[in-house]
Symmetry: C2
Subunit: 341 residues, 2 copies
């Protein structure tokens, strides 16, 4: 196997007639080089297309500028948005992400830990990893002293840094909106209760109902997964129960859209017969039938903020893990209407 010969700092030094160290200073933008030499060296670098080898720098400086990215589900829209933000922020700060295990099956854990330690990642970003599955990962990492920031995955006990959306507030906001339209029998299709975000949205829902003196009816709550299919099946089972309700809070837009399919199948109209509100504001929400009223989360900004915090923790190991909650925004479209008297 023949490998292309890369140009090294030595080549540059020889051509410029200076020592390796001086070239190193130029690469690293150190102040103690004369403008003249700096320029001469820079020209040679540009000309022969020299790129310092990250591995060698990492070995010598004990910094790898590498971050680990771990997630439970790539296909999740929420995830993809967060990653986009995270990636941009990292690049701007000259950090890069290594892909951790996508499938977080328990057997993968040793491999996963090995990846992170062998590569000496300087920090790890957990995006949308589920609750139970991952906590052992997290603890092991924490013990190893690597800074960890979690997104959409808050365990208050763990004391880990986290960036998330205010899901309690979001759940409250959604429910209050429906209450404001006169609805009191409000059903809910939740995400898996293993997810903190789902539990929090449920909590917000209950807070709002309680404050309005319209206590939650457990028969109107159905737990499921985050998928479209789950909304469809959940709504079907809700309808079979024959408990009256006039509005639904779905824990994400995919669930909401699945529920609408089931509603249509049952010849019920949205919003005339049933009002429905989602969560996320996925791109399709605007073009659903009907356009979906929903709770928007600032996902890309969350990714950026998480990465920023992670790098900050790397730079200052004493920095206490912070927990930041972003606010949600109610996006009113036409899947909800005022309850007729």
């Amino acid at each position: 196997m023949i490998r292309a010969k890369h140009t090294t700092i030595k080549d540059v030094a020889e051509q410029a007639g200076v020592s390796i160290q001086t070239v190193s200073r130029v690469i690293n933008n150190r102040p103690d080089v004369s403008a003249e030499t700096r320029q001469r060296i820079q020209e040679i670098i540009d000309q022969i297309g020299f790129q310092p080898f990250a591995n060698a720098r990492g070995l010598a400086s004990k910094r790898t500028h590498t971050l680990g990215l771990v997630t439970a589900d790539f296909s999740d829209f929420w995830f993809s948005q967060v990653v986009t933000g995270a990636e941009k922020e990292a690049h701007e700060r000259s950090f890069y992400f290594m892909l951790g295990s996508a499938s977080s099956t328990p057997e993968d854990e040793p491999k996963f830990i090995r990846l992170l330690t062998q590569r000496h990642v300087e920090g790890v970003l957990f995006i949308h990893a589920s609750f139970a599955d991952e906590s052992e990962h997290l603890n092991r990492l924490k013990e190893s002293g690597i800074p960890v920031v979690t997104v959409g995955h808050y365990l208050p006990e763990s004391g880990l840094a986290m960036i998330d959306v205010d899901n309690v507030g979001g759940g409250r906001k959604a429910t209050e909106y429906l209450l404001g339209l006169g609805h009191t029998r409000i059903a809910m299709l939740t995400g898996p209760s293993g997810w903190k975000s789902a539990r929090n949205r449920t909590e917000g829902y209950q807070q709002a109902l309680q404050a309005a003196g319209a206590p939650a009816n457990l028969n109107l709550i159905t737990e499921g997964t985050w998928l479209h299919k789950s909304g469809y099946l959940g709504m079907k089972s809700l309808l079979e129960k024959r408990m009256p309700f006039t509005a639904v809070f779905a824990h994400n837009d995919r669930i909401a859209r699945g529920a609408i399919s089931a509603l249509h199948e049952a010849r019920l109209r949205v919003p005339e017969d049933i009002s429905i509100i989602g969560y996320d504001d996925i791109p399709e929400a605007e073009f659903s039938d009907p356009p979906l009223t929903t709770i928007r989360q600032p996902m890309e900004e969350i990714g950026r903020a998480a990465t920023r915090l992670l790098i900050q923790m790397i730079d200052d190991r004493e920095a206490a893990p912070k927990q930041v909650l972003f606010d949600t925004e109610l996006i009113v479209r036409s899947s909800c209407m005022r309850l007729a008297e």
Copy 2:
């Protein structure tokens, strides 16, 4: 900034009372170590949790076991599936992916090239990168001698390795299905013509029509993006033209679903008034209203195959770039029906 001290090969060697080199042999599974010494060393490795530092190995061996992953759009379902497969395959072969630029804006190119060369990635996987934007990237990489495999992005001129779905066949399959149901006025909502996959689906569509003696009517073809919104707007403009058609081939399921929204708004029923077939078989397709007939692509397997090919090209630089086409599968649900006489 205090960094945790990592255990090194030296620590292991000292504890085992052997030389560094012998430990190295154990790590790399070389045959020339006595079973006894090997076991003793292995026990110490396990006990103190030693992990060889990938950077140092890379520096010494000139192998980084790192691959670059570049894409135009994270939020694409197709992409996420392919990545999942690619990631699994890579892990099984002890390779890892570094995230390249997510946003493939032209300004990012220098940064992007720098990432890949500074990290000495051994190969690069381009997933679903668009045609025009990226070709300069590709050529630069090719010149640098780094193996490149593209997925969903075939430029025959470039001679690059690629794994893709047989989009011509898929387009033909979709169109033939509609023809078989008696439709002859078949409209089409395409993806961007800058994408090879879109052009190929169009080609398959034209082939099928021609073979059936029902030449394509350009007025029935509308180009758009891959997004839901585009299907919605495309169908609206199609309807405004008042050119009669009885069926639609949408270049992906999101477009199809957008089109269905527009159709519903226009008080047209699917499939009673208009039949529609999509492409991809996204999870939501099954639960659309109506459930969407579509063309399925084996995405995860494509990711695996692409990674396998990439690693093969790394191992054997003489291996000619291969081009592999996967077959598609027609998934019949209920968004199409036989044309009434």
